[in-house]
Amino acid sequence: MRSSFRIFEGKSGEMIGRVMRTGEEEISKLSFSHNEVIQLRSHLPQDAGNYRVECWVPEEGGEFKVVLIDMFSVAGSYDGGADKTTFDITAYGAFLTNAPVFCIDGDDVITEGVIDKDGGDYLCIFDGDVSDSDVYFMYFVEGNKGFMSVPVVGDVITVQQETGDREITVRYFEEGEDV
């Protein structure tokens, strides 16, 4: 198996990102999914590397939807006065303000919120009391074919094909590796 992914700046032609796989290696996980949940990691790696997930369906075929979940192990804090719940994800890195974020409770109720910055802290903010929920980023790709390449920073990372029965290829790797 050999695969590569490259990103070029269109006007200058300069390549601004590149990963390539030429064979089996330990740091990558390459999995094929037919609807099952693929757990790519269950806890943060010990090193300080930047990790990424790619998943793709390279050929035309039936409709599919693949969802990538990047979940954080942080406790929520509910402010009754403001009726808001915040999750502090500062320890996981730096984030874009207003980016969408989600949380799910024990009854599988999903709530959408946004990332906000308070001083040097990055907070996930939700309406109401969802402090018992797990907070996560969600990305998905759907259609007849496609791919996505997403930086992952959370504790638990899963990928699942929610719609369709296509063969989904998923790769989890540390950035900078060229194998």
Binding site: F5, G93, L96, P100, V141, T169
Partner: protein, 71 residues
């Protein structure tokens, strides 16, 4: 504005340019059908890009590239 090249088994599968004026308007490259769309976020702290996700691809992590192509 960006070109994305994606190979599998040594063979190009995707090779497309994103429209320079509006990345949400689809692919202007003749090599790909108009219904195929690509989005690349460079992770800059631009709230407009953060809240304007395309087909499930939103940038969340600052200063890290997030990319996706779908049809």
């Amino acid at each position: 504005m960006f070109r994305v090249v994606f190979d599998r088994d040594g063979r190009n599968v995707f090779d497309m340019n994103v429209g320079e004026t509006d990345i949400n308007q689809g692919i202007t490259d003749n090599e790909f059908e108009a219904t195929e769309t690509a989005v690349i976020y460079d992770g800059s702290n631009n709230s407009d890009s953060a809240i304007c996700g395309l087909n499930g691809i939103n940038a969340c992590v600052l200063a890290r590239v997030t990319a996706g192509v779908t049809k």
